[in-house]
């Protein structure tokens, strides 16, 4: 994927500062292949929207260059970039009907009336709003407006579509439904999509690859499964999915694994060496809740116990909050198989494989 010849969008050493002092985007290097669905995921203020705006042409990079289809685009004004965009609040023009909204990009391109009509209808059919052309945006529900915005961003056949938290204003069910719908449209027409969100489940559902942003820097860029299962630093581990942390100091390094002594004298943990280098370094261990097993130790190392602080019944599984090695936010997910009969206050025997523990930076 990092092969320059294959990259359709390429961010090269991009810095961006609004006030000349604080960099909101730092040394960003990112390659996106044609047809890919890439999500920029991060908390608010992490620089993801700024990055998107630079790609759309509404912000100029302070340093570096963005290439689209191997051509630098910093000097091209937004209206000549041929990049579609779905805005956070849709930015549908309220004084135009749905059909007029969709014709707008075609009219400014001086496409003939008949073609416009055909393309608009096709785009509306694509988002299943074929009969809504004469309505005004205010007469549509949030989900319908969202589809119109999507159709408008696609109707002029742009080279690339950007989406800036397009589902943020929708309720949960509709959001999930729209996630699949956007994904299906992407699969169908094969357009390159750059998507910005702060919602990790949204990112995991839709993307080919996810770039996790924090503090103006891409923390990790990988496919959803790698991001979840093999986070490269503690920010990614915490930001994607649920994560249990234990702090300690590296005592022994052995190839790709290491031994960590937990703070507070709770014992030693065998873990994968990911983001630590030497003995004596402080580290944060990351374990996914579903990788912790209860009562059935399979290995001789990494056996601990924890007191149940809270049990939450969630139907398919029971969520147990434990106090383990000084961390009372330790979460374990117990599958609801009918064999779990502990109460709050009970001590549980816990164990995990050393491959499931990742020693990350602190």
């Amino acid at each position: 994927m990092n092969d320059t010849s294959k990259s359709f969008v390429k961010f090269e050493k991009i810095d961006k500062s609004y006030d000349g002092e604080v960099l909101v985007v730092k040394n960003l290097n990112l390659d996106i292949a044609k047809g890919e669905f890439v999500t920029m995921l991060g908390p608010s203020g992490s620089g993801k929207t700024t990055t998107l705006m630079m790609l759309a042409g509404f912000e100029t990079p302070t340093n570096g260059e963005i290439f689209l289809d191997t051509k630098p685009i910093s000097k091209i004004p937004p209206y000549e970039r041929e990049i579609g965009m779905v805005f956070q609040n849709y930015a549908l023009f309220p004084h135009m009907t749905v059909a007029e909204n969709l014709s707008f990009p075609l009219e400014v391109r001086k496409i003939s009336k008949a073609d416009i009509k055909e393309k608009v209808q096709k785009a509306l059919d694509m988002v299943e709003l074929g009969n809504f052309g004469t309505r005004f945006p205010a007469q549509l529900s949030g989900g319908q407006q969202q589809r119109v915005a999507l159709a408008r961003a696609l109707v002029f056949e742009p080279r690339l579509v950007l989406m800036d938290e397009p589902l943020g204003a929708l309720d949960k069910n509709l959001r999930e439904q729209m996630q699949y719908e956007i994904k299906h449209i992407h699969d169908r027409i094969g357009i390159t999509v750059v998507y910005v969100t702060h919602d990790q489940s949204e990112a995991l559902t839709m993307s080919n690859r996810i770039a996790v942003f924090n503090d103006g820097v891409v923390q990790q860029l990988s496919t959803p499964d790698i991001l979840y299962e093999k986070p490269e630093n503690s920010f990614v581990a915490k930001f994607i999915g649920e994560n249990n942390t234990l702090n300690g100091v590296v005592r022994e390094v052995n190839g790709s694994s290491c031994t960590v002594e937990l703070d507070g004298g709770f014992g030693m943990v065998k873990a994968l060496k990911i983001n630590v280098n030497e003995v004596g370094e402080k580290t944060q261990l990351s374990i996914r809740p579903e990788r912790v097993s209860i009562d059935n130790s399979t290995s001789d190392s990494n056996n601990f116990s924890g007191k149940i602080e809270e049990l939450i019944y969630l139907g398919d599984h029971i969520r147990a909050r434990l106090d383990v090695c000084g961390n009372n936010e330790f979460i374990v997910k117990v599958p609801n198989e009918g064999s779990f009969n502990h109460k709050e206050g009970d001590e549980l025997k816990l164990s995990w494989n050393s491959e499931d523990v990742r020693a990350l930076d602190l």
């Binding site: 759309a56 042409g57 509404f58 004004p77 937004p78 209206y79 000549e80 970039r81 041929e82 990049i83 579609g84 965009m85 805005f87 956070q88 609040n89 930015a91 023009f93 309220p94 004084h95 707008f104 990009p105 400014v108 391109r109 408008r152 002029f156």
Partner: protein, 371 residues
């Protein structure tokens, strides 16, 4: 008050018998009214209430100038005759002996327009028209025509002021809505401070600025742009009225525009450009149409205020910068011709309603947005 514009009953209560007899006069057959008319007038003048007659005289003078002095003189003579206890043989001759004008039928013709309780004379007056002897509507004497000219000027000034306010107010409102809060607050103070300042203060300030020895002329002379003898006359004429009214009414344009522009998301311009529209196209097709409620609210507000404006044109307008409001005030306070006053006011109101209706047809009143 509006009824006053058509009310003509007072004079009928002063000369009821005379008017009754007058109606029997066959103008085709006799040159002058019959004896009975003169007789009733004789007694009504002799016995009538002096104040009521005085009021009626003012009204008669609107119909034909000269009535007032004629009746006054005649009344004096009639009272003398009554005092002596004489009874005239021919009332008609007595009148004509007192003053030859009583033999002039044009005076009698002017009665024609007064014999009814309702009269449209004030409305015709307000449009520089009057009744002739036959009761037909004709133009006033040339030297008495001024209302049509003033109406036209009132409209011209109002329309110009509205246009200037829009041209000046639109960019200011846009800045107000889009600048960072720090600057827009400061700008808002600049807009509101004059708005809160007394109208009189602002108007007189404009006199100071614009007069021939005023600030602007002074600076222009000092810069050498104009010579000392070539100082420009910018006040006490229509130009002065335009400048001062535009400045005074500007906030009424800016504020509705601002309130509309403030809620237009900035993403709309971005979206339009993203969709391939040049900034100018994006402005014309996306931004401008969304400001129409503000433009129409501001425009209507400024126009309505301008058309009835009074103090500023009165002070800076001079002779040819006065608007219709000045005449209404003049007749209300100076000539006490309240009928004409009411008629002018009613026409103004009527015109406003027509504009409102037109506006509603073209823009739609639901589109208006004041904040």
């Amino acid at each position: 008050m509006l009824l006053r514009s058509v009310d003509d009953s007072q004079i009928n209560s002063v000369f009821p018998n005379t008017f009754d007899e007058y109606k029997n006069w066959d103008k085709g057959a006799d040159e002058l009214p019959p004896e009975e008319v003169y007789k009733s007038l004789f007694f009504e003048l002799a016995n009538g209430d002096k104040r009521q007659i005085g009021k009626a005289l003012t009204r008669m003078n609107y119909a034909k100038s000269g009535w007032k002095s004629l009746i006054k003189k005649t009344t004096r003579e009639i009272k003398k005759i009554v005092k002596k206890g004489e009874e005239p043989v021919s009332y008609k001759d007595t009148f004509i002996n007192i003053n030859k004008l009583w033999a002039d039928p044009t005076y009698w013709y002017s009665f024609n327009q007064m014999v009814k309780d309702r009269s449209s004379i004030y409305y015709w007056n307000a449009l520089d028209r009057t009744f002739d002897e036959e009761g037909d509507v004709v133009l006033q004497d040339e030297k008495r025509r001024m209302y049509i000219k003033t109406w036209v000027r009132t409209f011209k000034v109002s329309i110009y002021v509205t246009i200037f306010c829009l041209i000046l107010g639109f960019p200011v409102a846009h800045l107000l809505a889009n600048l960072p809060l720090r600057y827009s607050n400061l700008l808002m103070i600049f807009v509101l401070l004059p708005f809160w300042t007394s109208l009189l203060v602002r108007t007189t300030a404009w006199i100071v600025m614009l007069q021939q020895n005023g600030v602007i002329n002074g600076i222009l002379v000092w810069l050498g742009i104009i010579s000392d003898d070539g100082r420009i006359q910018m006040v006490y004429n229509e130009v002065g009225t335009l400048i001062a009214m535009t400045q005074i009414l500007l906030p009424f344009m800016i504020l509705p525009l601002y309130s509309v522009m403030r809620v237009i998301p900035k993403s709309h311009m971005r979206a339009a450009q993203n969709l391939g529209a040049k900034p100018s196209t994006a402005f014309l097709r996306v931004y401008l149409p969304q400001t129409i409620p503000g433009i129409s609210a501001g425009g209507l507000l400024v126009f309505v205020l301008a058309i009835g404006y009074f103090i500023t044109p009165e002070l800076v307008g001079g002779k040819d910068g006065k608007l219709i409001g000045s005449w209404i005030a003049y007749h209300l306070k100076t000539t006490l011709n309240w009928g004409l006053c009411a008629a002018l006011g009613a026409i103004l109101l009527g015109i406003m309603l027509i504009f409102y209706w037109l506006y509603n047809k073209i823009v739609g009143i639901d589109n208006i947005k004041l904040g």
